[in-house]
Amino acid sequence: MNRPLNRNPQLDADGALHHLLTLEGLPREHVVRILDTAESFVGIAEREVKKVPLLRGKSIFNLFFENSTRTRTTFEIAAKRLSADVINLNIGASSTSKGETVLDTIDNLCAMQADMFVVRHSQSGAPHMIAQHLDAMAQTHVHVINAGDGRHQHPTQGLLDLFTIRHYKKDLTALRVAIVGDVLHSRVARSLIHGLTTLGVPEVRVVGPKTLIPAAAANMGVQIHHDMRQGVRDCDVVVMLRLQNERMRGALLPSAGEFFKNYGLTEEKLALAKSDAIVMHPGPMNRGVEIDSSVADGKHSVILPQVTFGIAVRMAVMSILAGGSA
C-alpha cells in the first residue's frame, strides 16, 4: 500500500544538510563536503590558538541519554574550537523514567534558545524522532546531530572512519575493507557500510559468527565471511568493532577467549591482509578480546589518528549545519 513516506529527514527542501542522522541515503556530495571541510580543520589543532569563531554565539546542547565519555568529549572539544557555547546534559535512562519525556526535554531546551542538539540514545531512531518533532514544531533553525542511536547509526564515527581511510588510502574506488566482530549490535558498522558504498568502495566485507551478523546484512551490499582468515585476506583496511561485555553472556558467544581465538585481530591474521593495510577501531578497545595489544599499538594501527580526525570531522559537521549553507 502506498503510504506517504516522510521526506528525507535530514535534508531540507533545497537538499541542504539540516540534520545529520544517518549515512544511509546521505548524498555523496554531502559526504565529500564534510570530509573536505574537516581537512581544513585538521590544521587548527596544531595552532597555538586552537579556535575559530565560526559558531560564536551558538548554543550547542550535548544530550546524552546514554553514557559516553569519549564521544561527548570530542563533540565538546569540536564545539569549543568553533567558539560555540556548549552545555552538557547527561540524562541517564533513569531520569526520563522519572517523568519527563524526551520530547518534553527538547521543548524545554528549545525555550532556552538551543541551536543544536548532539544526541546519543540507547534506542534506535531517537534522534530521528527528535528531528521530526523539531520540524513539526517549526523549530527549523535547530539542528540535530546523531551521536549514536541504539544499534542504528553513528554517522560522525562513520565519517571520521571515512576520513581516516581517505587520509591513508588515496583511491577509495580500489579498496577492500573488512569490518570485523559484532556487526549485529554495531551502529558504527551500519554507518561505515553506507559511507563506504556511497564513496564507491568496491568491496566491503563483514566478518563474524552467525550470531553477530544481522539477518539481511547482504542486502546492505556487503560480503559476509565467517572465517576471519578469509575475511581479512588481501584487505586494505581492517576495522575492528568493539564487543560489549554483556554480549559474552547468553547464547551469542561462549566466552571472550573463544571469540578472540576466532575473530581477534592478531599479527598472524593481520599478515594475511595487504602489507600496507591499516587497522582501525572506534574505541574503547578491549585488548585481548577483539584486538591484540601488539596490533593495537603496532605500525598498521591508525586508532589514535582516528580520534584526532574525529574532532576535525565533528567540527566540519557542526559548522556546516549551524553555519548555514555558507
Binding site: G125, H128, A215
Partner: protein, 424 residues
Amino acid sequence: MKVEIRDGRVVDPKHGVDATQSLYVAAGRVVALGAPPEGWHPNRVIEARGLVVVPGLVDLAARLREPGFEYKATLESEMRAAVAGGVTSLACPPDTDPVLDEPGLVEMLKFRARTLNCAHVHPLGALTQGLRGEQVAELGELAEAGCIGFSHADAPLPDTLVLYRTLQYAATFGYTVWLRPQDAFLAKDGVAHDGEVATRLGLPAIPSCAETIALATIMRLIEETGARVHICRLSTREGVAIVRAAKKARLAVTCDVAVHHLHLCDVDIGYFDTNCRLIPPLRSVRDRDALRAGVADGTIDAICSDHAPVDDDAKQVPFGEAEPGATSIELLLPLALKYSQEEHQSLGAMISRITELPAQIMGIDAGHLAIGHTADIAIFDPAAYWRVERGALRSQGKNTPFLGLEVPGRVRYTLINGQVVHEA
C-alpha cells in the same frame, strides 16, 4: 419501531443473498426481505439506493481497554467507534487490568457494555490465572459468566506442559482456545521483523520461526488433545503454509489475520514510524502477499481489526519503546473492502470474513440476516472515499499507520437490535 431499509444491495453470504432489494425490520428483528410483510407501515425509511446492506460486522479482536486502561480508551469511546465502523459484535481479549480471569470481572464488563446499548461484547477469558502462564484459570466459571472462549492475549506462555494441560482441560468441556502463535523466547525483546528493515534500522528483531515453531507446537498439541483452537493474528508466509496443511489434515483449527497485515509490511516503518509498531510485527512483502493469498483461498477464515487504542504519549517515544497497537475498529470495513477490490474478490466473499465466519469462530448466532434473526445491520457506501484523520476517528486512540490515507467504504447506518445506533 419498524424500519424499512429501501432498495439497498443486500449481501448476506451465509444465505447466499446478493441482490438489490428492501429489508424490513420490526421489533428488533429482520421480518422480511424483498416484499414487505402484510400491512406494513414503517416508522422510518432508510433510503439505501447505492448502498450495501450487510449483517453487522463481527470483530474477533477489539481491545476496549476497560478495566484498567481508561487513559487509553473507555468502553464508551470504543463502543461508539465500533458502531461507527459497522461492528455490532466483538470479542475482547482478556489483557485488561485486572485481567479477565474472574467471573465477577466478566459479568461487570458485560453489564457495563449492555447498558451502553451499543455493540454486543463477548469477552474472552484468561486461559491462565493472571495470564501468568502457570495455573489454568477457572474456565468453567468464566464460561458461565459469559466468556465465549479462552485466550492468552499477547502474554507469553512458554511452558509447553501448561499449554498441553490447559488444552486438555479445555477440550474436556469443548471450550475454544484462542492462541497467538509466538515462541516466547525467540520473540523476546524483538520489535520488528527480522529482515532488511530491522537490519538497516538496527531494531531488535523477531524471526519468522518465532511464529512457525509455536504453530508447529500448537498443531501437535491439537492432535494430542483434540482441543479446538483458533489461531490469532497470523503474520508469516510459512505460518500460512502450516495452517493450510493442518486444515488439509482436517485438524479442528481456524485462524485470522489482522487487517493491517493485509496491507502493510516492514518497509512501511519508514523512518521509525511508531504507528507501525504492532504485534505481531509487520513482516516482509512476501509474507503480506502470502497472507492475502491465505484469505483468498480460505486458509485464513476471518479478518479482524486487532483494535488496540494507544495514547499519544506511548507512541511519541523511540520505536523500540513505543507501545504496540493501533486504532483500527473503524478501519476494518474500509481496509477489508480495499483488499477485496485490489484482489478482485466478490463482495460476498469478503463480507463473510468479517461477519459470518468470525461469528462461527466465536460460537455466536450473528453475522447473518435470516428472517426472524436479531436485526444487527451495517449499511455502507462502497463508493464513498474518506481520509483517515485524527478528527475522523471516534476511538480515543488516534494512532494508526493509515493516517492521511484515503480509504473506500463509509458506514452510513448501523443498527443494533433493530435500533439505529449510528448515522453518518
